[in-house]
Structure formats: structure tokens, C-alpha cells
Symmetry: none
Subunit: 217 residues, 2 copies
Amino acid sequence: MQSYTEENYLKIIYHLSEISHPVQTNAIAERIQTKAASVTDMIKKLSEKELVHYVKYQGVTLTEKGKVTAINIVRKHRLWEVFLVDKLNFKWDEVHEVAEELEHIQSNLLIERLDEFLDFPKVDPHGDPIPDKHGNFAEMALVKLSKLKNGDKGTITGVSEHSSPFLKHLEKLGLTLGKRIAVVDVVEFDGSVELLLEQEKLNISREVAKHILITKN
Amino acid sequence: MQSYTEENYLKIIYHLSEISHPVQTNAIAERIQTKAASVTDMIKKLSEKELVHYVKYQGVTLTEKGKVTAINIVRKHRLWEVFLVDKLNFKWDEVHEVAEELEHIQSNLLIERLDEFLDFPKVDPHGDPIPDKHGNFAEMALVKLSKLKNGDKGTITGVSEHSSPFLKHLEKLGLTLGKRIAVVDVVEFDGSVELLLEQEKLNISREVAKHILITKN
DNA sequence: AATTATTTTTAGATTTGTCTAAATTAAGAA
DNA sequence: TTCTTAATTTAGACAAATCTAAAAATAATT
């Protein structure tokens, strides 16, 4: 069994692993709001427990055991987010902090029952995939909106940026999960994208388009 | 804001306050699965934060501030229990441990929405009352134990006879304030009542039952 | 009232997770 | 390659919550 803090480290390392391999000490320190020295200490501890593979001055990667633990936390986090939005009417930019706490509740029965209660959701309110109890993600071909060409159509299935300002911006534009969009034009000058959303024309910056994930169909 | 541990101490002190005033160090130690020395340390800390009133060698009582905090934790604990039983089909004996964890989640919005989602329940699955967001418990009518029927459950909340012989008798039987009882059988012949008190069977005369006041729940 | 037993507190140590400041290693620039 | 800068680690300290063992206070008993 891991402590609350250990779980947080594993989760952060898991997320950072998708960006860099191995994961650097400073990157962890920044994300976890702590100092590099503290990270080194914790990494040593996780390494002794064989949850991470650690090479001095290089960084860490999760071991199989560590990965299983991390994915389970991610699963719990995302299921709780679905609960908060679907059942308690939270807005999608209000759920993160609470889910950060709820993800550490220790009870397999609880999480399996919650999964069932929510009708086995495959994605969380941000469109991020929810692993099943064996740690498997449902495969999904997600494409960045910025990669689409003129005339392409699809459904908004996720975002790759979870900050409140960004989500509020999307909310305001009406670019929410499940909405269908069509690309009218990609402006060559600045990469901004002209969209059709529910018969309305709409222009979004390339920066925004890069963080919207689309299922082409 | 209080730590997880501080919250647990406040909650335990709150519960023990219903039985003895002030609350003894050893009583806390037993309930919280720790040593008396640790309790003394924590009590000093809570006292400095003005959450409890502490007199050396005597014991502690909650201050108003401490009581508000404690009642809020009790509220959260009991709401989560309702959620687990009503929505996730937990059995009433499976909920306690999980609720012990959930009660420490910090979010007023969460708990108000949960309350609403559960349709503002007044009692938890064990029949214990749930305080509202202002800390008020729904008033419950006191009933003479002699009026209860088979299967009825409740908490001893008072007596209508204050003579020493009577109170000594109750003391001896273990029928003290705050104890939960269940009626197994009301004997038709003489009106005596067969009770279940802390897993033990017990028979009391109709005369005694008439002077014990119960909060049904 | 004196003695014994129980309860509570103190003193000092331990564990977990953190910190600062200094030392070390790796990476980049001249 | 050598010097400089940036990243990382070590060493030593600290706060929170706990513990053991010993001392002090209270309660119970003779």
C-alpha cells in the first residue's frame, strides 16, 4: 500500500512519461509544487519499493508495478470526474481539485460500484480515456483539430490542456464535448481555423486548435 | 483548516462527549487506536488552536469552534454512508470504513451537491441523524421505551424518573445515555421488554421500560 | 490517612515528507 | 578542451504525529 504522497508522485511521473523519457527531477518538482531535493528523496524511496526505475542524474521511469498503481489512480480520478459532472452537476472546470482528493480513497469495491453506477464510462468529462479495472484503455483515434484539413468533419472528444482559463474559453465559444464541427478553412497566414459549429461560423487560434481533440467521422 | 488527524480527534471527542464530560485521555486513545501519550500531545495542539478546552488530568471538551468542525465531519460521514447504501448498493455494515476516508474530502460545494443529490436525507443507514449545513439536527420526538414495537431501534436519550435506585439499576444493566438498543420482543404476558444492547440480550420490566426515553432512528 | 493502583503527562526518540545550503555531476559555450 | 551554467544530489535540519519509558497526579482501597 502506498501513501497519499507516494501515489501523487507515481501519478505525476505517469503523466510526465508521455512527454519525456525518462522523467526529470525538476519536471516533477514543478508539477508537484515542491523542491528538487524533496523529489530526489522521494524517488529513492519509490525506487527501493521497486515502483520506479531510477538512474542518478538521468531521471526515473515507472516499473510495471508502478505503472499499474499509477493507472489505477488515473482511473479513479477520471471516474470521480464523471460522477461530479454527470450526477452532481459540476461544471467541467470545477472537478479537477476535488477529484485530486477523491482519487486517493482506498476501496476497490467502491470504485467498481462507482464504475457500474456511472454505466462504465469510456472517457471523462474532458474526453480523456478511462482505463478499465485491468488497466486497459479503449483505443480511440484522436486527432488534434489543428491537423484537420478544409472540409474535414468530426466530434470534439477531448482536450490536451486542462487549465481553467482554457476550458472557460471553450465553454464560452460553445466548443464542448460531443459537439460536431466542420473545418471551413485553415488560414495560411497564422494557422487559425475557421469552423462551422451548429450552423455558426467561428474562428479559433492555432494555439486553441492544437489542444482540441477530434474523433474524425 | 485542520489536518486529517486533527479532524479525526475532533470527531472522536464529539462522539465521546455524548457519554462522558469531559472526555478522558484514555477513552480517546482507545477509540483512535493509539497511545495515551500521543493523545496528550494532540490535545495540547488542539487546545492551542482553541478547538478544545483542556484541563490537565481532567480531560477535554470541544469549544464552539471545535464542535462546529466536528459536526461538519459527522455530516459528511453520514451523507457518504447514505450515498454508498442508496446509490452504490453497499450493505450497511460495509460502509463505515470507506466513509471514514470520504468524510475528510474538503469541498463545501461537493457536500452540498451530494446532499441535494441524495434528496436531503435526515438519517444515515444506521438511523443516526444527519445535521444540516448549519449544524442543526432535525428534532426527534422522544418516545417511552415501553411504546416501542418488535424490531424498533433507537438511542437512549433520557429518563423520566430520576431516583437514585432507578438510575443505579440502569447503570448496572448498561442502559446508559447514548447507548443504542433494539427491541427483540415485547412479552405479552407482563409487558416486559427483551432488548438487544451491544450484541447482548437483556430483559427489562415494563415498569423500567416506561421510564426510559428513546429517540427512534 | 496511608498505601496501592490507575491514569495522565513529560522527556526524548522515531518516521515521513519537507526544506536550505553546499557539493557534485552533466551539459553548453567559448 | 576548458570554463561556465544548469540540473541534481547530499548533508543536515525541521515539523507533524507517533512511540517507549519514566515521572507525576489522581482515584481507589485498606
